[in-house]
């Protein structure tokens, strides 16, 4: 079995400079007043093993990373050495030396072994769900939980599939209802509703009613048959398209006239005849623009340079402008020709397209229609377009006459009129659109419904399969949960037994007990806590029990769970109880302390307390329970912000002092010795303040120095404890003069220190060393304290140091438990009892009054 050998902490919580808590592989009882850094060691252990400090993580706005560090130190070092040499540190991680250490460190990751005072009621006060979550990690349910989780995931996935299929069903139902024009259903649409709606549509066609969706195909065929009986609707449609195309062609051909082009052409020719020369107004206009904008000194067309004088350029510009003005009529007529050309070409193109379209329709009908006249029209239109597309300058009156005459010869109109007339006759014998359209729409609708219903059937099948699948998985999950609950309840029975065993050791009242953990059936994980209270068996303990008993119950539950955790992790034996005993009332504390020390003797315990009386008491209980050798008892004497907790042992301080006195040869070494003596005296007086109940003037945070305590100690020794004073008078009187030396040389540098002689410093140190021997027992390692009786006697716990009242017999100290054993019922067989005593007392009172 491994355990902690040493815990080293630096720069964490209340610990500044490096402090070593030496476990020596044993349990540690750590005393320190509130605010001296006990919990900092507990927090450091938790931080080291788990990576966080629970109270910091739980508190809103706090975190281990931000608030774990000591406020005066930048560097945090936490390191534990285990008994097998394994090391764990925040910086370097873990280096387990043995498999046992590996198991130990793996189990320590979960802080199931630390109980702080403020957590003692957590389990009792938490709601059932949180209780279960607290218990779950203690229960060996790993594989069971994995299976249950897998089933839960599967059931969730199956349910999701069901929901998806149901949603698709609903969408399809809405689409079917929408197509049939019936109200949108809330959920699925029934077959009868669909049949009824279709039947009413079929009624107008005389097809008859639809009894089931399977008859839909037949109904659709019937509609199709009806359509076919009306004739070849496609042919009728085709012919209607041909008629429409003929009309379009006639119209477009009617628009093709040469007159709008001929008139501007003749005007243009007249101008050209008058000018008698070719004229290129574009060239002049552009040249003018270049010359003006660019101030060119050469011809932009041929590059010939002219006179560079601006006067000449201006003259050229004027000449061009004059030329353009003169040719204004010609230019306007040319633009009219171009516009007329464009319009005519558009009309020719439209007629050409209509002609081709008609030709395609006629050929598509497949009746062998002669389309040669259409070819002629197209050819003529081509010739017309060719001449129209010529540049105006290239057109001549002769060419124009030839083309115009050719177009007139086409005589397209009679042939097209004859064609239209012929097809109108054919169309009259074909079915009418208004007769066919309702049936066509119905046919399409039936096809659409058929398709949607088919899809619905497929989704319905998927939904049924998914529902079955979900049901199977849901049941399997329920079974798994039930099985898990059974397992948990069985574990709870074991746990109940353990809790009751522990609780009975603390509170033996037969009217209280029968503690039970019960799994709530209604929820996945919830735990009820029941306890007997007189006639109320199975009541919530919070209903009747006082805080003291609730504390005992909370502690019993924690300890029972700790044992459960040990069952799972046998190599891990750490148990940390941070100041929990002081939250339990005095009546039960002895029983709790004995329980912990006896029942958890095979654990390595870190037990802290802020109560000095309990610290002393627990040391007695260690001896009584036979575990004294397994404990290291440590006291934190003092704490300062910069120095942190002072863990030094009084006898170590004393030995150190003796060495310094022996080596004191120079003023510096005497000062060192005096300083160490001052610290030891402070330590001694702190102990005496408690044990002798010294009166000191109250100070903030109750941090008292030698100056506050010494006068009270000296006075009390003289008055109340003359045995001590007589035996140690020399030392006490010497120190009563010399104690201020501590302030001069021991604490910090000041001018006074330089005036203190070496001999004075040395005498002070020797006196403190002597006082230490008077008040601290080497045997039981305890300071002296007042004996229970007689009054005024002082002794250590073992009686090795004994200061009886002068003139009175020394009484060896006996433990309270031994006193009770020796005195309770010591005269149980005597004749005198309270009844007889009270009778005699009454008789005396009567006699007295008479």
């Amino acid at each position: 079995m491994v355990g902690i050998e040493i815990l080293e902490v630096e720069g964490f919580r209340g610990i500044g400079p490096r402090r070593v808590l030496s476990f020596e592989g044993k349990s540690v009882l750590l005393f320190g007043e509130n605010g001296t850094g006990k919990t900092s060691f507990v927090d450091a252990l938790e931080m080291l093993f788990t990576g966080e400090v629970t109270p910091l993580e739980r508190a809103q706005g706090l975190s281990t990373s931000q608030h774990g560090k000591n406020i005066c130190r930048k560097r945090t070092v936490i390191k534990a050495t285990l008994t097998d040499g394994s090391e764990v540190s925040l910086e370097n991680g873990q280096t387990p030396e043995t498999p046992t250490a590996e198991n130990y460190l793996a189990a320590a990751v979960q802080p199931r072994y630390i109980l702080r005072r403020r957590q003692i009621l957590d389990f009792i006060e938490n709601p059932p769900k949180d209780r279960y979550e607290m218990l779950e990690p203690f229960l060996p349910l790993g594989e069971v939980m994995n299976i249950e989780q897998a089933l839960r995931d599967a059931a969730k996935a199956a349910k999701s599939e069901c929901d998806e299929a149901r949603e698709r069903m609903l969408t399809l139902a809405r689409r079917i209802a929408g197509a049939l024009g019936i109200p949108t259903p809330g959920q699925d649409i029934s077959e009868s509703t669909v049949c009824q709606a279709i039947s009413s549509l079929l009624k107008s066609t005389g097809i008859g009613t639809l009894r089931s969706i399977s008859e839909l195909e037949t109904a659709r065929s019937s509609v199709d048959g009806k359509l076919k009986s009306l004739g070849d609707f496609e042919e009728a449609n085709h012919i209607r398209n041909i008629l429409s195309a003929v009309e379009t062609l006639i119209k477009t051909l009617s628009d093709v006239h040469m007159a709008p082009l001929v008139s501007p052409l003749q005007e243009m020719w007249r101008f050209q005849r008058d000018v008698g020369a070719a004229f290129f107004e574009d060239v002049l206009e552009r040249g003018l623009k270049w010359i003006r904008a660019e101030e060119l000194d050469f011809c932009p067309l041929c590059g010939t340079r002219w006179d560079t004088k601006p006067r000449d350029r201006n003259a050229l510009v004027k000449r061009i402008e004059s030329e353009l003005r003169e040719m204004k009529g010609l230019i306007a007529s040319r633009r009219c020709v171009i516009d007329a050309q464009r319009m005519l070409i558009d009309k020719i193109n439209a007629a050409n397209a209509a002609s081709n379209s008609l030709k395609v329709l006629l050929e598509g009908l497949g009746r062998g229609e002669d389309v040669s006249h259409l070819d002629r029209i197209v050819a003529s239109l081509g010739s017309l377009r060719d001449i129209t597309q010529c540049r105006p300058d290239e057109m001549s009156p002769d060419k124009l006459h030839v083309v115009t005459d050719a177009w007139d010869d086409v005589r397209w109109e009679p042939s097209l009129r004859e064609l239209a007339q012929r097809y109108e006759q054919v169309s009259a014998s074909l079915p009418k659109l208004e007769d066919v359209e309702p049936l066509t729409r119905l046919y399409g609708l039936l096809g659409q419904i058929q398709e949607l219903w088919g899809e619905r059937e497929s989704v319905l099948k998927t939904l049924e399969e998914a529902t079955r699948d979900h049901e199977v998985k849901r049941r399997a999950l329920l079974r798994a949960e039930e099985a898990r609950k059974e397992v948990v309840q069985e574990l709870f029975k074991k746990l109940d037994k353990e809790i009751n065993n522990l609780y009975k050791r603390i509170d033996s009242d037969p009217e209280r007990g029968n503690i039970r953990l019960e799994l709530r059936e209604a929820t996945r994980g919830g735990v009820r806590l029941w306890k007997k209270f007189y006639d109320h068996d199975g009541s919530d303990p919070r209903a009747y029990e006082n805080d003291a008993r609730l504390d005992c119950l909370g502690l019993s539950i924690f300890l029972a769970l700790r044992r459960f955790y040990r069952d799972e992790h046998s190599d891990f034996n750490l148990l940390v109880l941070d100041d929990v005993l002081t939250s339990i009332d005095t009546q039960h504390t002895v029983a709790v302390a004995e329980l912990i020390l006896k029942e958890f003797a095979d654990y390595q315990i870190l037990l802290t307390t802020h109560d000095r009386i309990w610290y002393e008491h627990l040391r007695d209980i260690q001896a009584r329970c036979g575990v004294k050798s397994r404990f290291v008892n440590k006291a934190i004497h003092n704490w300062t912000l910069t120095e942190g907790p002072d863990l030094s042992e009084p006898d170590d301080e004393s030995s150190h002092l003796e060495r310094l006195i022996a080596d004191a040869s120079s003023p510096e070494s005497v000062q060192d010795a005096a300083g160490a003596a001052g610290r030891l005296l402070e330590h001694i007086l702190q102990e005496m303040r408690y044990s002798l109940r010294l009166s000191v003037q109250a100070k903030r945070e109750e941090r008292y120095g030698i100056g506050e305590i010494w006068p009270s100690f000296y006075k009390k020794a003289q008055g109340r404890y003359p045995g001590l004073y007589q035996k140690c008078q020399g030392t006490l009187d010497a120190l009563n003069i010399r104690w201020p030396i501590r302030n001069w040389v021991g604490a910090h540098f000041n001018d006074w220190a330089s005036r203190v002689g070496n001999q004075d410093g040395l005498n002070f140190a020797r006196s403190v060393g002597a006082l230490f021997k008077c008040v601290f027992c080497d045997e039981c390692r305890r300071f002296i304290q007042p004996s229970m009786a007689p009054a005024g006697q002082l002794s250590c716990r073992c009686g090795h140091l004994l200061y009886p009242v002068p003139g009175k017999e020394a009484v060896k100290p006996v433990s309270r438990e031994d006193l009770v054993k020796a005195s309770a019922g010591a005269f149980k067989d005597a004749r005198l009892d309270t009844e007889l005593y009270l009778r005699w007392k009454r008789e005396e009172a009567v006699a007295e009054s008479n």
Binding site: R693, M788, A789, R816, V820, A830, L832, D833
Partner: protein, 135 residues
């Protein structure tokens, strides 16, 4: 620990020695390290002579020896203290021994441990003392 916290009267001590009902409560208080139990020598004297009368000198001596091993014996008899005793005796009409016990409790600001309801119930009702009934 030297400060007296509980004053024991004769009835409580006899009940404890006889293992009568309430002795557990007495033991519980004695067991606690924080408590310092004391008794005035007059009250111990009362116990002593009653044992002497009922069980003889030897038992009475043993009772004395046993008692001083775990109770602090108060032998205060100075004038101010005796005036307090006198006040208790005069105003409450209790026995002289009970007046000493009450005066001790008042002087030390301690609780009085007793089993004698007849004499101390009226005092508790007046809230003049803090009384622990062992039964």
């Amino acid at each position: 620990m030297a400060e007296v916290t509980h004053i024991v009267d004769a009835s409580a001590l006899i009940a404890y020695y006889r293992r009568e009902s309430g002795h557990e409560r007495f033991a519980e208080i004695l067991r606690c390290e924080e408590n310092v139990l004391a008794m005035h020598s007059i009250n111990l004297l009362e116990v002593y002579y009653d044992y002497y009368r009922s069980d003889g000198a030897s038992i009475a001596d043993q009772v004395w020896g046993k008692t001083v091993s775990f109770l602090q014996l108060i032998d205060k008899l100075d004038e101010p203290f005796l005036r307090i005793v006198g006040r208790w005796k005069a105003t409450e009409g209790i026995s002289l021994a009970d007046a000493f016990a009450a005066a001790c409790a008042e002087h030390h600001a301690a609780c009085l441990m007793t089993a004698d309801h007849k004499d101390f119930d009226p005092i508790e009702k007046k809230k003049e003392l803090s009384i622990i009934w062992i039964r």
